[in-house]
């Protein structure tokens, strides 16, 4: 479902309040779009298959939906970032426990955590996880900010930004490819970059 309220970044208070209402599909869509890649990527790096990682995304989002009220009122649960990391880690552990012996043999190897024994719950404060979570969190912020800006700027400007900044095509090559002049390339790049930086700052403040 597409968004109608992409013109602003929700504040921590407003998004949390709206997530309380499970029927508020727009807010859940904003939340899902912002965090699914992060959860999915961590699940894959923990050695899960793509299908298992998708289940982890789904289960983690369900947990957020279920416990968001508890999180809002219990400050001992810490920051949202830490809380989401723990939920993700626990759901990954659930997936690992569900595995049958044959699956374990063919499973991809984990970059973090290491193999768990049956019934063992992984430590959310695991150093490897902490480091990768931090890296993924930053990469995810950048990706989420770019995605949001992409939907708001003029399509032609995003294409210039994509070719020049993301794909590193020289400005004169971008200009000749798209049939625009150099000034337009620099202007579009500047505008999109400024919006992405602003969006990242807003997302950082969000939680």
């Amino acid at each position: 479902m597409a968004l109608q309220t992409e013109d602003f970044i929700p504040t921590r208070y407003s998004l949390l309040s709206r997530l309380h209402n499970r029927d508020d599909q727009e807010s859940w869509k904003v939340f899902f779009d912002t965090y699914w890649r992060l959860i999915y990527s961590i699940a894959l790096k923990s050695g899960l298959t793509e299908a298992e990682a998708q289940d982890v995304v789904q289960e983690t989002i369900i947990c957020v939906a279920h416990d968001i009220e508890k999180f809002k009122h219990d400050r001992t649960l810490g920051s949202f970032k830490g809380w989401l990391r723990n939920l993700t880690r626990w759901r990954i552990a659930d997936q690992l426990r569900k595995r049958e012996p044959a699956m374990v043999e063919n499973a991809p190897s984990a970059q973090i955590g290491g193999e768990l024994e049956a019934g063992e719950t992984p430590d959310p404060a695991d150093d490897g996880l902490e480091k990768i979570w931090e890296e993924e969190w930053r990469a995810n912020l950048m990706a989420a900010a770019t995605e949001r800006v992409k939907r708001r700027v003029k399509e032609e400007h995003y294409q210039i930004f994509d070719l020049n900044v993301i794909r590193q095509l020289p400005a004169n090559k971008v200009a000749s490819t798209l049939g625009v002049n150099l000034a337009q390339v620099y202007l579009a790049k500047h505008r999109v970059l400024a919006l992405i930086k602003k969006e990242v700052r807003s997302l950082e403040k969000q939680w």
Binding site: M1, A2, Q4, Q25, K150, R152, S176, G179
Partner: protein, 316 residues
């Protein structure tokens, strides 16, 4: 665990085997009493969570059935039946081409050719093919809209080929423009304002054109494919892309205002050839205008300064 398949009764048709299953129903390959192959979509009430979509789909069939055979770009609906006691209804359609044998159907090996299948196997289509396909579908969509109907779920897997000609299929979500409020459709093909309007259908078709011309996923929009080498095909793609952008603008007011307008743009593209010489001349002219503007501006500033100095020198 395999799902139990209950075989419904479709009047005068022998149901051969399942060829598709979606959220709202199953599609069967059938053979009628004349031996002609057809496709029959069966919608069972018990497989739909609430009664509303069942009735909505039936209502859609009622609306589209009289007009489906009046335009080449819509899949013909040939027969409709309903069995309330058993809780299902069905509609029989012309059969889509097989992926390798076209309209020569071998029931044992039949796989319907959809645009989704083409994309999965060819990744992207040549721009000429995109124009032909886009113009045919825009024409069908324009016809649907003129009848006061909207499709609401245009995407590659809902576009089939009959004798190689593209047609809008899966008409289950077709509805009146007047009752189009429900949020429905497929993620990525729905515009920011939501599905359920003629404008939204144009956006969805624009996203289809984006996928078939770039080979990118709809969610990558508006990114261009890579690599973009300096070739006639790439130049055509950049020009074609302008049509895609005008069909998929976030603001519906900046989109093509009708499917006919989109079709006209596609046909105009076909008849206007890219000329590197003309483009070079245009670039040259804009450079001259730019330089001229700078000179005039500079001269204006000098004149002002000169006038200021003159006034200061002649002021007692």
């Amino acid at each position: 665990m395999t799902e139990e398949v209950t075989i419904p009764v479709v009047s005068d048709h022998e149901l051969l085997h399942l060829i598709g299953r979606g959220s709202s129903g199953e599609v069967w390959l059938t053979r009628n009493t004349l031996g002609t192959f057809r496709a029959a979509k069966v919608i069972q009430k018990k497989k739909i969570s609430s009664g509303m979509p069942f009735e909505r789909e039936f209502s859609g069939v009622q609306k589209i059935e009289p007009v489906s055979r009046l335009h080449d770009g819509l899949v013909d609906i040939l027969q409709v039946g309903r069995n309330d006691a058993a809780g299902y209804f069905y509609y029989v359609m012309e059969i889509g081409d097989d992926i390798s044998t076209g309209q020569t159907i071998n029931p044992e090996e039949y796989t319907p050719r959809t645009l989704g299948w083409d994309l999965a196997h060819r990744r992207r289509l040549p721009i000429g093919g995109c124009i032909r396909l886009g113009a045919a579908l825009a024409s069908a969509l324009g016809y649907l809209h003129r009848q006061g109907l909207i499709h609401r779920d245009i995407k590659p897997s809902n576009i089939i080929f009959v004798n190689g000609f593209p047609k809008l299929a899966d008409i289950g979500l077709v509805t009146d423009l007047s009752e189009s409020g429900t949020r429905i459709g497929t993620d990525g093909f729905i515009p920011p304002e939501g599905a359920g309007s003629a404008q939204a259908d144009i956006y969805s078709l624009g996203k289809v054109l984006y996928e078939i011309s770039t080979g990118n996923d709809r969610n990558d929009y508006p990114a261009l494919p890579s690599p973009l080498v300096d070739s006639a095909e790439s130049r055509d793609l950049i020009r074609f892309n302008k049509i895609v952008l005008n069909a998929c603008r976030s603001d519906p007011a900046r989109r093509y205002q009708s499917a006919e307008e989109l079709m006209t743009a596609l046909l105009a593209f076909q008849f206007s050839k890219y000329s590197p010489r003309k483009q070079k001349a245009r670039n040259h002219l804009s450079k001259i205008i730019g330089i001229g503007g700078v000179i005039i501006g500079f001269g204006y500033v000098i004149a002002l300064l000169w006038r200021l100095i003159w006034v200061l020198n002649h002021t007692p």
